[in-house]
């Protein structure tokens, strides 16, 4: 279901002491790191 949507690359942050919820957009550098991480994991999974 959700895989056809466009990922926004955002982090949801919950402060458990205050209950405040904020969102943070990932930087391009972080996005690149995530995509690399995912690609490596996919490779590990397919070869295991």
């Amino acid at each position: 279901m959700g895989e056809n949507m466009v990922e926004e690359f955002k982090e949801v942050i919950l402060d458990v002491k205050t209950g405040q919820v904020t969102e943070r957009q990932y930087t391009q550098e972080e996005i690149d790191a995530i995509l690399t991480y995912r690609a490596n994991k996919e490779q590990e999974n397919s070869s295991s």
């Binding site: 279901m1 942050i13 991480y37 295991s48």
Partner: protein, 173 residues
């Protein structure tokens, strides 16, 4: 939809007689979800579930001020739930708990982490609570004097558009 039964925390490795208290729960479909401001808690139980995915790797990153975390890697296989691990993959000593699934909401896992005190081992218990038999792995780690987990970040390998659910319980010092 999702994991419809609110899971009660199971018994496990504990060093405190205090009751488990629910810290947070929720559903998200972003790239990651960080539960912050956790200082003061000693033990954690984490339960996560993910929407159906061709292949997903669910991860829980524990962020703390530790200068050194040591561990024993866990690896096991059971059906399409495999390669659970505890590792220290990044330079700033955060460590990761994770597993890989190719199934759906029925593949969930519970992590239990207890920070035992300065210089003491940190016990980590991993159980697949969807199975009748308990599959348990363990690892040890050592935090520095600060010895606190300040936040946890929950994320998966598959697209952040997938829905994920989590529950987190804790015990105070």
């Amino acid at each position: 939809m999702g994991y419809s039964v609110f899971p009660a925390p199971s018994s496990g490795i504990t060093t405190s007689n205090l009751e488990w208290v629910k810290i947070a729960s929720g559903t998200f479909s972003g790239t990651s979800y960080t539960i912050s401001n956790l200082a003061g808690y000693k033990s954690f139980k984490f339960f996560g579930a993910v929407e159906a995915a061709t292949s997903d790797n669910m991860n829980l990153r524990l962020n703390g001020s530790s200068s050194a975390v040591y561990y024993q890697k866990m690896a096991f296989n059971r059906g399409d739930l495999h390669d659970a691990y505890v590792t220290t993959k990044n330079a700033d000593s955060n460590f990761f708990l994770g597993y890989t699934t190719t199934s759906d909401w029925n593949n969930t896992i519970e992590f239990e982490i207890t920070a035992a005190g300065s210089g003491m081992p940190t016990m980590i218990s991993v159980k697949n609570i969807q199975q009748s038999g308990v599959w348990q792995g363990w690892g040890t780690g050592v935090f520095d004097d600060t010895n606190e987990i300040t936040s946890m970040t929950f994320f998966g390998t598959a697209s952040g558009t997938l829905s994920r659910e989590f529950w987190l319980w804790g015990k105070t010092w």
